[in-house]
């Protein structure tokens, strides 16, 4: 249960970060609160959009899905299905984040602190989900 609580809390924080970045990409928020300025460079790059949709919007959808599954899992403590779904969603999120981090490091040559924060959150979610899956099988 504490692991699913942690996943839910992390997903909520990730969701808020993604909403913040999405609103920025939609022009509803001014400059990002970002000490290095790299956030603007990353968010202004062409890789900040996929088929015209802000990449951060994918984060909103992903974190929302993880939050919903985690809340469902909290209502069904003995059920192993939420644990499997959380691992699946977390792994997908980590793979996508790895791709975005690669773009920051080797293509855009700038780091967005919010994106790195989101990367940390999704990795923690995956780790907590793996522990949850192991516990659910025990």
């Amino acid at each position: 249960m504490p692991r699913r609580q942690a996943v839910a809390l992390l997903a909520l924080i990730g969701l808020l970060v993604s909403v913040y970045l999405t609103l920025h990409q939609l022009g509803m928020i001014g400059p990002l609160a970002c000490g290095t300025g790299g956030c603007e460079r990353v968010q202004a790059s062409r890789w900040a959009y996929i088929a015209g949709v802000p990449v951060a919007a994918a984060g909103v959808a992903g974190y929302l899905a993880i939050l919903v599954v985690a809340m469902w899992g909290l209502q069904q403590p003995g059920d192993g299905r939420p644990a499997r779904w959380l691992v699946l969603l977390g792994a997908g999120g980590v793979l996508f984040t790895l791709y975005l981090t690669y773009l920051e490091a080797f293509v855009i040559h700038a780091w967005c602190r919010w994106c790195l924060g989101s990367a940390t959150i999704i990795v923690l979610i995956l780790v907590a989900s793996l522990f949850d899956l192991r516990a659910s099988r025990a």
């Binding site: 909520l12 022009g27 202004a44 040559h109």
Partner: protein, 227 residues
């Protein structure tokens, strides 16, 4: 019931995080809409003539835009806001617009587009090329024949093909792009579009209404009639 009780602190904590997060995001949204002009003064802009200018020399307001042809934000501004800016602020003599080339690192197709725009500028066709590059950004950035796609736009913009091709192959206008880029680097531009109204940086990407409000605050419409 016991499980429900033990979960109460967790749900309360989750609620607090949600409320604080939404409040902070709401504050950021409100801050943007209530802040027409950022007073972050950027001084060293007057390091010689840079960029491509549209509008009257006597306009009391100059808006300087650092822009990248491959940047989606810039395209959105150019397509959605710029037509109103042009007809209602520039053509009425209130604003002089200065476009400054700022191809971002990592945008591998952007330098070719900027060179093409600079070449079109040599034939007095910069703004036509500017509009076409942004309007068709999604097409030329995906085209395998980048130079061919951009040349096709230049022809639509009305350039003389032979002179344009020569400029592109000899990269004779590239110095202009480099000079603009150097200006942006010297003042720490780190994203596009970045705009300055009479030397003061605007936060984020403004809408037409926000730009007009800034212009009104500097040069009210009635007083610009004598210029």
């Amino acid at each position: 019931m016991a499980a429900g009780k033990s979960m109460t602190p967790f749900y309360a904590g989750l609620g607090v995080v949600a409320i604080v997060g939404v409040a902070l995001i709401g504050r950021a949204v409100m801050h943007k809409s209530s802040q027409p002009v950022n007073l972050d003064l950027v001084a060293p802009l007057a390091s010689g003539p840079r960029g491509v200018v549209m509008g009257s020399d006597s306009a009391r307001v100059e808006i300087m835009e650092f822009s990248d042809f491959e940047c989606p934000y810039c395209a959105r501004f150019a397509v959605l806001q710029m037509p109103d800016v042009r007809t209602r602020l520039i053509e009425t003599g209130r604003v002089r617009w200065r476009f400054v080339h700022y191809p971002l690192q990592g945008h591998t197709k952007s330098p070719t587009a900027h060179l093409a725009a600079a070449c079109a500028n040599e034939q007095g066709r910069f703004w036509q090329m500017h509009d076409l590059l942004y309007a068709h950004q999604g097409e030329w950035t995906e085209d395998r024949d980048l130079v061919g796609a951009i040349t096709s736009l230049a022809v639509q913009a009305g350039v003389d093909r032979a002179r344009f091709d020569q400029c592109m192959s000899q990269r004779s206008a590239w110095g202009r792009v480099l000079a603009d880029k150097a200006l942006g680097d010297s003042i720490g531009i780190n994203g596009t579009p970045t705009m300055f109204v009479n030397g003061r940086q605007i936060p984020g990407v403004p809408s037409f209404d926000e730009l007009r409000a800034m212009v009104d605050s500097i040069a009210p419409a009635a007083t610009t009639a004598r210029h």
